[in-house]
């Protein structure tokens, strides 16, 4: 009798879902394929780091977009405005702290950049709240109107940014200690790229921890799977959605700061320019999937840098080609979100 009880218990337990790790392999595969094409190992290391840094920044921006879509079927064509706003806020904040950013010390530089990031996130989050209320809420469940109205929000937002900061490009110089490169053997890796990768990883880990280990995260994941069911269990999915939207906007603001520092100058059109990349990333990842978005962002970052080095003329096509290949393999993206 006692011997049979473990088997009964085992059959009662939920069948374990085999984690799908295959897409994870794409990143090393892509990097290894690029190695013989690039030829020089040190160049390859530089490019790979540049790609990872770019991918991390794109992930920070795109994660909110994909979650918002997953939760409420809302695709925000105005997401780029938060990026631009974050970057412009950073120029204003950092301009007041030139004696801290000018110092050749990582501590003082961070003391200047971190407040800039926090202010950018707070303001873009607040703007996100207003954006949700004014622009998105009246058109729930009407995809056509939603596309148009968020596009309209993007136009007005960009024009308002021009009203406040002017239409011209504003330089956003890196703090002194972020400049320059570290040498690994012959490979030069820009310091700022390492910093961007670290920040991206921190955001990714925190976000994954929240999604996987907290009640809020459980509700969000459940909402993405089946929002009606979550509502019928007594949770207000609207509040959850607003929370996710605001967080997404704040993360886009953070991404904007990082992207602005990466480019070292900001223009009012920068958000609109990134939009296409964001869409490619969330389509590749599977609309609504954060893990897929992470892999998609890294793939796009890497392939943009490799293609930019090997064949600059086709750099943008490389992303679309990547999307086509991924969709041929998995038509709903790397990690399809099972619903609908």
């Amino acid at each position: 009798m006692s011997a049979s009880s473990p088997t009964v218990a085992a059959s009662d337990a939920l069948p374990a879902v085999r984690p799908d790790r295959l897409p994870l392999l794409l990143i090393p595969v892509l990097a290894l394929v690029a190695l013989p094409l690039v030829k020089s190992f040190s160049t390859w290391v530089t490019l790979t780091f540049a790609g990872l840094a770019m991918g991390m920044i794109i992930f920070i921006i795109a994660s909110g977009l994909t979650l918002v879509f997953g939760l409420m079927d809302v695709l925000n064509f105005g997401h780029g405005v938060f990026i631009t706003l974050g970057a412009f806020l950073a120029t204003t904040v950092l301009a007041t702290m030139t004696n801290w950013t000018g110092k050749e010390s990582l501590f003082w530089n961070l003391a200047a950049v971190l407040p800039a990031m926090l202010i950018a996130m707070a303001v873009t989050g607040a703007v996100g709240l207003a954006f949700e209320r004014v622009i998105i809420r009246p058109v729930y469940g009407q995809p056509l109107k939603q596309i148009m109205i968020t596009m309209g929000g993007a136009i007005v937002g960009e024009e308002l940014i021009k009203v406040v900061w002017g239409p011209q490009a504003i330089p956003l110089p890196l703090p002194a200690a972020f400049r320059g490169s570290l040498l690994f053997g012959e490979a030069a890796v820009e310091r700022y790229r390492i910093i961007a990768v670290v920040i991206g990883l921190v955001v990714f880990v925190v976000m994954f921890w929240v999604l996987a280990r907290t009640k809020i995260g459980l509700l969000i994941r459940a909402g993405v799977q089946d929002g009606e069911m979550v509502e019928s269990l007594g949770y207000r999915i609207r509040r959850l959605f607003i929370g996710v939207f605001v967080t997404g906007a704040a993360l886009a603001g953070l991404g904007g700061v990082l992207w602005g520092l990466y480019q070292q100058s900001v223009i009012p059109q920068m958000g609109g320019l990134v939009n296409v990349l964001l869409f490619i990333v969330i389509i590749i990842g599977g609309m609504g999937s954060v893990g897929g978005c992470f892999i998609g962002a890294l793939l796009v970052g890497l392939i943009s840098n490799y293609a930019g080095f090997l064949a600059p003329k086709v750099a943008l096509f490389s992303n679309i080609l990547l999307m086509v290949i991924v969709l041929l393999w998995r038509p709903e993206g790397l990690y399809p979100v099972g619903k609908r």
């Binding site: 079927d73 695709l75 056509l144 109205i149 239409p167 389509i283 943008l316």
Partner: protein, 356 residues
């Protein structure tokens, strides 16, 4: 006669009819009433954009598909003419070759995009077309041997249309009968024909099916219409008209570059024109395009005055800065989507219906 010409789709509102007549007469008489090159350029731009916006309305307003690749077809038309004339010389056959090649390219491309991606939901289609259009724009500016890159192509037009050509030495009603005038009237006539042709299409049984799909795709499918095929057909037809509009623009400007016909800004502008004018009514395209282009060219002068008047008030001064005209149209656009989903035309027709 008139009813037949308008395919039975009369304005159905006295105010609307009046506005349309005023716009029509204005365009017809521009060279005689409003002197100067600027007025003529504005009028010509209105003509081409009426065709372009109407073709976009065929897709967005009548079929309920939102595409961000519409300027791509507009650009193909413009580049077709520009490249053919640059290569083959400024002759009519060259123009025909350019238009023909551009049309073939556009139709094939729109067919492929349509068949591949019109099965998916509206959001995906919007994203995919956005990506394709961006890639195409990059392609056009990269292939500089062929397209002139960022600088674009300047070219001569057939002798009859060039400014040097003169029909008679004595001016008629104070206007010299040169190639520009002929170009303008040619443009106006072709635009009018294309517009009436589109009016014919949307008021045909085929057009009714498109509207049925817009209202409820599932029901249309249940009634036995293959919605994918109808959507694709709508996509191809609208791409064809956009291509022709592009060819007209290139012939008028005698120049084409990425910024004049391909840029994403134009895409946004035609979206604004359709929505403000009125989706699902081709007359909305006329109103929207006219309002927008006149605003673009003349509101700025007005705003300059306001901006001078408010020079002492910091934020307000920047808000009415002439460069910020798009801000106000953007707000009008958002308001239109909320308040009058069928735009100005829909509002006018509703009023007329209530009155009776």
């Amino acid at each position: 006669m008139l009813r037949r010409l308008l395919s039975g789709d009369l304005p159905r509102s006295r105010v609307l009819a009046l506005v349309l007549v005023v716009i029509g007469l204005g365009l017809l008489l521009t060279p005689f009433v409003f002197p100067g090159a600027k007025a003529l350029n504005v009028a010509a731009k209105i003509c081409t954009f009426v065709v372009l916006v109407a073709s976009f309305d065929l897709l967005l307003g009548y079929t309920g598909i939102i595409s961000f690749a519409h300027t791509m077809f507009f650009g193909i038309g413009a580049y077709g003419v520009a490249i053919a004339i640059t290569r083959l010389g400024p002759t009519w056959p060259a123009v025909a070759v350019g238009v023909g090649a551009a049309l073939a390219t556009s139709l094939a491309l729109s067919l492929v995009i349509g068949l591949f991606s019109l099965r998916v939901k509206a959001l995906y289609y919007a994203m995919i077309t956005l990506a394709v259009a961006t890639a195409f724009q990059t392609l056009a500016s990269q292939l500089s041997d062929f397209t002139g890159g960022e600088d674009g192509l300047s070219f001569k037009v057939p002798a009859m249309l060039s400014p040097g050509f003169s029909l008679s030495s004595s001016p008629f009603l104070g206007v010299s009968l040169d190639g520009r005038l002929i170009s303008y009237y040619l443009l106006l006539a072709v635009s009018a024909v294309l517009f009436l042709l589109m009016l014919r299409i949307v008021n045909s049984p085929f057009g009714r099916v498109l509207q049925a799909i817009r209202e409820n795709a599932f029901r249309a499918e249940a009634l036995g219409y293959r919605t994918v095929l109808y959507r694709t057909a709508s996509n191809v037809i609208s791409a064809g008209f956009a291509t022709l509009a592009g060819a007209l623009l290139a012939l008028w400007l005698r120049y084409n570059g990425p910024d004049t016909s391909l840029s994403f800004e134009i895409m946004i502008n035609i979206l604004l024109m359709v929505v403000i004018g009125g989706m699902g009514t081709l007359y909305g395209a006329v109103l929207g395009a006219t309002l927008f282009i006149v605003t673009e060219n003349y509101l700025q002068d007005l705003m300059k005055l306001a901006s001078h008047g408010l020079a002492g008030v910091p934020l307000l001064r920047d808000l009415v800065n002439p460069d910020r005209w798009l801000l106000w149209l953007g707000l009008l656009f958002i308001l239109s989507v909320y308040r009058f989903p069928f735009g100005i035309v829909g509002k006018l027709r509703l009023k007329a219906r209530k009155a009776t």
